[in-house]
Every structure is written in C-alpha cells, then in structure tokens.
Amino acid sequence: MFTWGNFISQCFNGLVLGALLALISSGLTIIYGTLGVLNLAHGAMFMLGGYAGWVAYTYTGSFIVAVAAGAIFVMLVGVVTERLIIRHFYARPHEDQLLVTFGLGIVFVELVRYFFGSLSKTVPPPQALAGITPLGFMVYPTYRLALLGIVTVALLALYFILYRTRIGMIVRAGIEDAVMVDSLGINIQKVFMLVFGIGAMAAGFAGIVNAPVVAVAPDVGDAILVQTFVVVVIGGVGSFPGAVLGGLIAGEIISLTSMFNPAYSYVMLFIAMTLVLVLRPYGLLGTVGRE
C-alpha cells in the first residue's frame, strides 16, 4: 500500500531504470540517426551483453572483467554485423532493414538459447557493492545506487564522445546529412561501422551492468526493446537528449505504476506515448523530418 517511504524508493527505482533505458535508447537512436537503420536486434544486443559478461564472470570471478567483456563483445558483434550484413541494407527500403534486423535478433536469441539453455543466469554484484546502504530517509540496495552512478558515467561518456570529440562531430553531422559528410572527404563507411559498434556497445554495457538486478535470460531483451521504442517515440528519434529525457520519463512511469499494480505499467507507458504523439508528434525533443 502507499507509504512515502515506498514512494521515494520507487522514485529511485524509476531513476535507475530510467537511466538504463536512456543508455540503451541512446544507442538505438544514434544508430538510427546516423545510419537510418532502426535496429530491431537492439534488445538482443542488450541480452548478449549480459551473457558475455556472465561467461567472463564464470571464468574469472571478476565483475569488472565481466562488464568489460560484455561491452567489448557486443561492440564486436555490432561491428561484424554492420560489416557483413547491415552495410548491404543502407540502399534498401526501410522495411527490408526492419526485417533483417528482426531476423538477426531472433538468431542471437536462439543462439544463446542453444548454447546456454532457457534458464536464467545470475551475476552477483561485486562484494563491495552488495548489501544495502542507509540513506538517512530510507535504506536502498547498494548495487542499485552504484548502478545509477555507473550508468550516469556511461551516459556522460557517450555525451563526451558525441559532443566533445572530432568523431562525435562527424557522427552528429552524419545525423543531419550523411551524404554531405561523405562528400566532404570523410570516410562515412568507417564512421557507420563505428557508430553501429558504439550503439551496440551501449546496449551490451547496459545488459551486463543490469545483470545483478535482473537475471539474464535469452528473451530478456524483448521487453527492453519495446520499452526502448516508447522512449524513442517520447523523446524524438535521432535525438540524444531526447533519449535521455524519454528514458527517465519511461523509467519513472514504469516504477511508480508498479507501486500500485505492475500489470498497468505498460498501459501507463502507452498512455504517455499517446499523449506525446497527439501533442508533439515528433517527440519531446525531436525534429521534423528525422524519420
């Protein structure tokens, strides 16, 4: 039942989930913004990150190695996928891109199921971050607090890459006009490969750092993919700030609704999306023409 303690703790949960969704959605949105491809395998990338991390953890017992393994493995998967398959789809219709990434998502999920089975795997948080932390007004799981910090740092890193580096400038220019960037003598093909890798890595990283909170299973990415779509629709396609804002909004809606009845969290999310579509069809921070 409703108590203020419960409310604040759910607000915190919403913040953690929101930051996580923001990170995953940023990956999706910069890939879409730059390459023009909506990656329906993005949820599977999230799942792959969790599994790669779990494997690394099983062998080394180190959480940090697990996180690095999750992020780097998924980045490599992204780069290889882009080189082998996605690259051939830039000139093909959007529908074909959706079909092929949807198929790739199934292949990733079923590959994992084939090798690791359908049962979920857990990665415990590192010893130092286990247990709970008293915050004065409430006690809160230490790892979730840490997770908020970790994801915030990752988002800042992504922000730094996008807005403060040469490559980020090229990516942002590519979002505005990829043909123009190409004709300025910049190798846009390489940039595309890199962007796909970074976008995938954002999902993979989120997948492994979230593994101590929600156990990894082959279909863990499905729900994430749907939530990511809502985030992107709310925030505006191709907009990094939009992904962050949309992520936080979606995270709070899901958490606060769960406090009363988890079954309605999707309904509330859907209502929020509807409101945005009716009032601001291009998303809160979106721009006309990026679709």
Binding site: Y32, L38, I85, H88, R92, H94, E95, D96, L98, L99, V100, F102, G103, L104, I106, V107, E110, L111, R113, Y114, S118, D222, L225, V226, F229, V230, V232, V233, V237, N261, A263, Y264, Y266, V267, L269, F270, M273, T274, L277, V278, P281, E291
Partner: protein, 612 residues
C-alpha cells in the same frame, strides 16, 4: 493488372489448388493439422499483405487484432450461451475491426519506422492487458479452453466440422472467401490508391486523395482479417492460446509474408507453408529440439538478404526470364503525334469554375518565413481566366516556395490566397486539387512501380471519385469516364504507346511528360508548372514547348522556368521574383528591356542568397 477476359483465372486456380491440397500435401510430409494452420496464417497474411505489400505500412502489431478477435469469439463460445461458431467468428472480426480503427487513428499519425515502433508498443499493451487485468475473461496465461469446433446450423440441417478433413473444408472455404474479397479490393480504385500511397504518398495526396482515410481503411481491413483468422484459430485448436497476443506472433506474420513475398496476396500462404513445414521438419524429422527456431531464423535472414521479393517474387522473376521479352512499341512518328496531341488537347477537360472571366487567382500579402529567413515577402499577385503567366527569377528568388503556398503544400506565414472566389489559404493540398488547382513538380514525383496507365488513373480518380470513397469492391475499369480520361491525357503528353510500361522503364524525357500528364489528368482549371523544361535536352525542350502550347489552349496556367526564350514564347505576361519579393510584372518585351530585371540577373551579387 489482369485484363478483363482473364479476370477470374486467379480465383479459379486458387479454388483448384485448395481442392487438390488435402490430397497432395500429405504426400509431401504435411500433417493434416499443419495444413489447417497454414490456411489460418494465410488468412491473417492476406490482410497483412494489403497493409504491407500494397500500402507499404509495416506493422509489427498484428497480434493485437489476431488475439482480440480470437479471444472475443472464444469467450462468446465458451462463457456464454452463444453456440453459433460462424456468428462468433463474424463478431470477433467486427471487434477486431473496431479496435483496429481506434489504434489506426493513433498509429497512423506517423509513418515509416515510427509507425512500426508504435504498432509494436501497442501490441505489447494488449498482451499485458490480456495477461493481467482481463485475465478473468481471457484466462490469463492459460487461455480459454473448450472452444467448440466449427459448426453450421441451418435450422433444418446442421453439421459439425470435427475431423481434420472437415475442418479443412471449412477453413479452405473461408480462405477462398477472404482471398476473393482481397482480390476485389486490389482491383478496385481503392486498391490502386493503396499502391499509390506505397510508392509516393505526398503525390497521391497532391492529386486530391485523402490518403489518411485510405490508410485507416486498409489498417481496419487488415485488423479484420487478423481477427477473423484469430477466431478460427480457437476452433482449430479447441482452445484460444494467450500467445496469440505475443510479439512473436506479429513477428511470424511479418516473417512468413517476407518469406513468401509481399504484394501478391499469396505470399503469406506460401510463407506459412514453408515456415510450418520447416518447423515440423526440424523438430520431428531432424529432431533438432528447441534449436529449430535458430535454424529458421538463419534461413529467414538469408532469405531477406538474398531473395528480396520472397518466394512468389522469385517465381515471378523466373517466369519473366523464361518468357521472351515482349517487343516494346516503336516510337510513333512525331507528325502523327503532334496531330493527335492537338486533337487530344481540344478534347481534354478541365473543371468548371464559378466565374469564367476576371481573376481566377488572387494573392495578397503572401509571406513565408523559415526561422529568420524570409523566402517570400508580401507578394500581391493575380491571374485572370485563360491567362498564361510566366514566373522567372534567379535561383533562390522564392519561386518554388511561392508555388508550394499556392497549392497549399506549405502554409504561408501570413497573407491570403483566393482561388475562384474561395479563400484556400488554410486548405489542404488535396482539397486545393479537388477545387481544380494543381501543379507539376520540378523534380518528378511519379509512382515508380506502377505503369503509365496506372499513374494517370491515380490522377484521374481524384477528379472522378472525389477525395475519399469506399468503393472497395468496385472494379477499377468500371469507374465511369476513367479510360477515356487516361487515354486522352496519355495522347496529350504523347505517351499513348507507353501506357502499359512501368514508370521505372521510361526515359527521362518520357517521365517528365508523365509528370505534366499527372497534373493534367486531374482536369485542373488552374495548372501550375514548376520548371517543366528542367533537365531536358534542346530537342526535348522544343517538343515540350509545343506540348505546353497545345495544353494552353483554353486553360489557365502559371509556368516557372529558367529557359526564358522558351517561356517568353509561351506566356502573355511575366512576373519577376527576386529575393522573395515581386520585382516587376509585364509583357515579355517589357521584361526583356527592363533595367531592374537585367540587374537582377546580371548583377549577380545577390544570387547566392536565400533558399529555393
């Protein structure tokens, strides 16, 4: 498009195939229950193909309608005294249609990937609603058991379709009905407009069609097909499974259609056959266990990568390769063409106007700002009935923006446009076209995957049927006046020998003429031509100027072009725009000798400014 004498061949062949299937397929290793499932997926797929293959709207949310229709029918049959399975199926279909209408209102606010994402999200909401809040009605994760097999009760005689074979007869009958209806839709004016929306939605709108209405229509139709098939699913299995609502169900509909080939109506059936056969084969014959999905996923990715148009598309391609190419019609003699053209021009129609003399178009204070950039500033402009007006101006003078405001493609920041006595400033581009004001584009805006005849028909239908009409089951050739209008317009733009050629195979000059033909086929009372000579060779220019002269007889036109010699030969009066302002108006001779105009063109210092 099939010619009339072959019109029913598809239906007859389908009927024969449906009769033969239960005798042939078991020998190929299909289990009887699998054959029935193929029909159900094929039925969902017919609706989905109308939506995706014909209209270009890729929905990943069909499971919402499949599940809703199925659950509704199953609930009626298991928890109420309702026993009529056909009645329950029809009610399930109707409910899916209503739900489809409501969701369509929302999802169709956007296109492309946004549309795909919104449909995914909405379908997921349905899944959660089914699973939790509505579990008292839907059985939650258990689904609804005890759905009776299909029955037919005629009062004096009743029958239950209990066995696999009987069910096959029942499902095959409904598949056939569904297919016949879909074929009629495809061959109706609406069916052609759906393809127009797929190829070029903006032009379809500019030709006077309410494309949102047609998109909503096909969305509802697809939802009804899904609801219908969902209702049958419960009867086939004896229970209504909750996983009908899952994202994977939507995904399978999409994948089966992609495997079979979109845009043929049969693709989903073939895709479902391949999909379910392989699923059985991998699971039972090869004993792959759970990894059958992995193999199917890989097969699917390979098919999307290498077989762009699916299996039906591949078969059609092979068929075309095997048959010798039809010789294309030789271009006709220019002299004959010119003669036909003049004749056709005399016959070509235009919408009647309220007034017949004085100004047909009056523009006052028209201004358009893009942020800080003023593209058009305070333009006053007027054109009389029967006048041929030219507009010139250096690049960036705001000519194209001016035209876009006249045709209501772009809303002016301020000012007023009065056409034939009506204020059209706030109207939509399709309404403006319906009133008789249309434009041919500077860059060709054609329906590339359709033939010249179909392109012209899309334009003519705007005038002949109005903005929106639900003649879903009417045969396209039966639209009164369509054939003469298409043929006379084709003759006018000298494409009468190319009527059945796909646009993609036309030469550039021919496409350019078709572009003008599209505008003409709407029978405009005021025709705007945005750089009709752009990109043409000198020879093509001469021909096109002759064409424009032929069109000009008895018509009001405004023409933008950079080729001043050609333009001055054509028009009675010229308006010069510069930097978004009206510089000067006058006869061609006055404009030629005007010092300001010479300054604007030759001074050159302002040429880079502004955007067009």
């Amino acid at each position: 498009m099939p010619t009339r004498q072959r019109a029913y061949i598809v239906e007859i062949l389908t009927l024969l195939a449906l009769i033969a299937a239960p005798f042939v397929l078991p020998h190929l290793g299909f289990a009887p229950a699998t054959i029935n499932r193929i029909l159900i997926w094929g039925l969902v797929g017919i609706g989905f193909d109308l939506l995706f293959g014909f209209t270009g709207l890729l929905s990943f949310g069909q499971a919402a309608f499949f599940g809703t229709g199925g659950m509704f029918a199953a609930y009626l049959l298991t928890n109420t005294s309702f026993t009529n399975t056909i009645g329950a199926t029809l009610i399930g279909t109707a409910v899916a249609g209503v739900v489809g209408y409501l969701i369509g209102l929302l999802a169709l606010r956007r296109t492309g990937i946004y549309f795909a994402m919104i449909t995914v999200a909405i379908a997921e909401v349905f899944f959660f609603l089914e699973f939790n809040p509505l579990s008292d009605y839907t059985g939650g994760e258990n689904g609804l058991p005890g759905v009776p097999p299909p029955n037919l009760d005629l009062g004096f005689w009743s029958m239950t379709f209990g066995s696999n074979t009987q069910m096959y007869a029942f499902f095959a009958f409904w598949y056939f009905v569904g297919l016949v209806i879909a074929l009629r839709i495809v061959r109706s004016p609406v069916g052609l407009l759906l393809r127009a929306i797929r190829d070029n939605p903006l032009r379809a709108q500019a030709l006077g069609h309410n494309i949102h209405g047609y998109k909503l229509t096909v969305f509802v139709v697809a939802a009804m097909y899904a609801g219908f098939a969902g209702s049958l699913l419960g009867m086939l299995q004896g229970f209504m499974p909750p996983d009908a609502f899952m994202f994977h169900t939507s995904g399978e509909i999409v994948m089966q259609t992609a495997i079979g080939g979109a845009g043929w109506l049969f693709g989903p059936l073939l895709g479902a056959a391949v999909w379910l056969y392989l699923a059985d084969f991998f699971q039972i014959t090869l004993d792959l266990g759970a990894s059958w999905k992995l193999v199917l996923g890989i097969v699917f990715v390979l098919l999307v990568v290498f077989l762009r148009h699916g299996l039906v598309g591949a078969i059609v391609d092979l068929w075309r390769l095997a048959r010798p190419a039809r010789p294309s019609a030789p271009p006709s003699e220019p002299a004959r063409a010119a003669a036909t053209r003049v004749q056709a021009a005399a016959q070509s129609r235009h919408k009647s106007t309220r007034s017949t003399s004085g100004p047909i178009l009056q523009v006052s204070g028209l201004t358009k700002r893009y942020g800080g950039l003023v593209a058009n500033s305070d333009i006053d402009f007027s054109v009389d009935h029967g006048e041929i007006r030219g507009i010139i101006g250096p690049n960036g003078a705001g000519k194209s923006t001016f035209f876009k405001m006249l045709t209501c493609e772009v809303k002016p920041s301020s000012g007023r446009i009065v056409f034939d006595g009506r204020d059209i400033t706030a109207m939509s581009v399709s309404d403006a076209c319906q009133l008789g004001l249309t434009k041919s584009y500077q860059i060709n805006q054609l329906f590339d995957r359709l033939t010249v005849r179909q392109n012209l028909a899309i334009a003519a239908l705007g005038e002949l049927r109005g903005k929106f009409k639900l003649d879903l089951l009417k045969s396209l050739p039966k639209v009164p006046g369509l054939d003469p209008q298409v043929e006379s317009t084709a003759a006018l733009v000298h494409l009468e020998d190319r009527l059945d050629t796909p646009v993609a195979e036309l030469a550039y000059g021919e496409k350019r003429r078709l572009e003008i033909g599209l505008a003409l086929a709407t029978s405009p009372s005021l025709l705007l031509l945005d750089e009709p000579l752009a990109g043409m060779s000198p020879q093509e220019r001469v021909e096109t100027v002759a064409l424009l002269k032929a069109i000009a007889a008895g018509r009001t036109m405004i023409v933008i072009d950079h080729d001043m010699d050609a333009l001055f030969e054509l028009v009675g009066k010229v308006t010069v725009l510069q930097e978004g302002r009206l510089l000067v108006e006058g006869t061609p001779d006055e404009i030629r000798s005007n010092a300001e105009v010479q300054e604007a063109y030759l001074g050159g210092i302002h040429e880079e400014a502004g955007a067009e």
